[in-house]
């Protein structure tokens, strides 16, 4: 997986005291076309604080164009924003 750190639009579930759980997201490609991806499975959630920047990193799995892909989403806590972190 390569670090992309691309900002994305996300639909997220907030449930009680649990960490926010992404449901689906969309990202735009080089031609500025939107692609929507539904998250099939969240395999792991890790809290990171590299360079003091607090974030949750989600290892996710989805079927994209017929193939199952692993990728990481990142929620930047202080900025309240989502990134497609690695793919």
């Amino acid at each position: 997986m390569k670090i992309l750190a691309e900002p994305i639009d996300a639909v997220v579930k907030f449930k009680g005291k649990e960490k926010p759980l992404p449901y689906k997201f969309r990202y735009s490609d080089k031609e500025e076309l939107y692609h929507e991806v539904k998250i099939d499975k969240v395999l792991m959630i890790e809290e990171t604080k590299t360079a003091g920047i607090k974030a949750f990193v989600y290892l996710c799995q989805s079927e994209i164009n017929g193939t199952v892909k692993l990728y990481e989403l990142k929620y930047l806590i202080s900025d309240c924003r989502w990134e497609l972190y690695k793919m």
């Binding site: 670090i3 992309l4 750190a5 990171t48 590299t50 003091g52």
Partner: protein
């Protein structure tokens, strides 16, 4: 025996920028190429704030001008500082350290002293704990630190300076002869350029030479500072690791390098007013009044001088401080173009013990009330929420001095 650690982030600004850039997907680690963090040369802040280790091999040093550095290494990569990021990094380093002991002195944005003595029973051997701290900072925060371990602050600090980066050094008194004494005397804490010159003249070249000299001789040559550095060379330092909240501040000051050479008195006074706004606000936040005001000037030719005034009755209102600062500027300024201005206050006293003067202006109480109101507004809605009318439509920023919106931990202050 006490166990004191000195934790020092390796080329702090640069490695913090590097860690944040890697996290954002940048494919080069700027710690591994000739790179520097420097201010913007256009606003005349173009000096090197931090350098990577490869750029050191080109002879680039912190404090040099960017122009000079580019001549030494034309391919130098230059990145701007990000003070918000540095605060985050510094805070998170502090948070990790506070898991090991509550006795932490935040010496500057990238340096901390911790007293580990009482934590030994819980976290074990100092050396093992230091390795754990170092590795945790590296894996969790993405940057490396040097840790010096000893029985006092001075030796711990000297220890952390030994070999960089990502190293742990012990420097106990019995190791001084081997590890510290062979170093050039300029490496010793509190020995600067001027002192090094003076010591060289009497053939003191290494820390060992200084340690073995006669303390009376040192005192005769350099007064009390001579005795201090002689004690340091011998590893003697009895100071405690003091919590920053317990350190009594003795002065506040702010200064600014202007983006152009100031030649008009009116312009200079406006900059002084903007500096006074900041300085006076800090003074009032500390709850003190000051009776010594000093104005410093650096000319376009890099000649520095300052002028100070001892007041009969202490002050804390912005207007009064500004009046005195202008007076000092008027008296001190020799008419040359000015590139740097500073205002500082000291000789503090508490507001309950001041002597009222018969000659105080009639509106002092009024000014105090205004300042109180302005401080409250700024605290709640931000510094720019209320500014003086004189700054409308002017090029001068209404409140000057300090980085990170007046968070002075950058320069060794602390967060209240």
């Amino acid at each position: 025996m006490r166990a004191i650690f000195h934790i020092d982030a390796n080329s702090a600004y640069l490695s913090w920028t590097a860690a944040a850039m890697l996290e954002k997907g940048y494919n080069i680690d700027i710690r591994e190429i000739p790179a520097v963090i420097a201010g913007d040369p256009k606003s005349r802040h173009g000096i090197i704030l931090a350098k990577s280790i490869p750029s050191k091999h080109y002879g680039i040093a912190t404090g040099q001008s960017l122009f000079e550095a580019r001549q030494k290494c034309p391919d130098l990569a230059v990145y701007p500082p990000d003070y918000d990021l540095y605060m985050l990094c510094s805070d998170s380093m502090f948070r990790i350290l506070s898991e090991y002991t509550p006795v932490i002195q935040r010496y500057s944005v990238d340096e901390c002293f911790i007293d580990y003595t009482a934590s030994q029973s819980t976290y074990g051997d100092p050396l093992e704990a230091a390795y754990q701290i170092k590795e945790r900072i590296k894996s969790e925060l993405g940057f490396t630190v040097n840790i010096g371990i000893s029985c006092n602050k001075l030796l711990a600090k000297m220890g952390s300076e030994l070999k960089k980066p990502d190293q742990i050094h012990t420097l106990y008194p019995d190791e001084m002869g081997k590890k510290m004494w062979p170093l050039p005397v300029g490496e010793l804490f509190m020995v600067g350029r001027a002192t090094t010159e003076k010591l060289k003249r009497i053939n003191i070249n290494t820390i060992g030479d200084l340690a073995n000299s006669d303390p009376l001789h040192m005192k005769a040559l350099l007064k009390s500072h001579g005795l201090l550095i002689w004690s340091f060379a011998n590893g003697i330092d009895h100071s405690e690791v003091t919590l920053n909240s317990k350190i009594i501040q003795k002065g506040v000051g702010n200064s600014i390098t202007t983006s152009y050479d100031v030649t008009e008195k009116e312009d200079a006074c406006m900059i002084i007013l903007a500096l006074c706004e900041r300085v006076a606000m800090r003074l009032r936040k500390l709850g003190y009044l000051a009776s010594l005001i000093s104005v410093s000037i650096k000319t376009g030719e890099f000649l520095s001088y300052s002028h100070q005034l001892q007041l009969q009755s202490p002050v804390n209102t912005t207007s009064e401080i500004y009046d005195y600062a202008c007076l000092l500027f008027d008296e001190g300024w020799r008419g040359e173009p000015v590139r740097h201005l500073g205002v500082s206050l000291s000789d503090f006293c508490l507001p309950d013990s001041i002597q009222l003067s018969m000659f105080d202006g009639y509106n002092i109480e009024k000014n105090r009330k205004i300042d109180r109101a302005v401080d409250k507004i700024r605290e709640r809605y931000g510094d720019e929420a209320i500014i003086r009318g004189i700054f409308t439509n002017s090029k001068v920023n209404p409140i000057q001095g300090g980085t990170n919106e007046g968070d002075f931990i950058m320069m060794g202050g602390y967060r209240s």
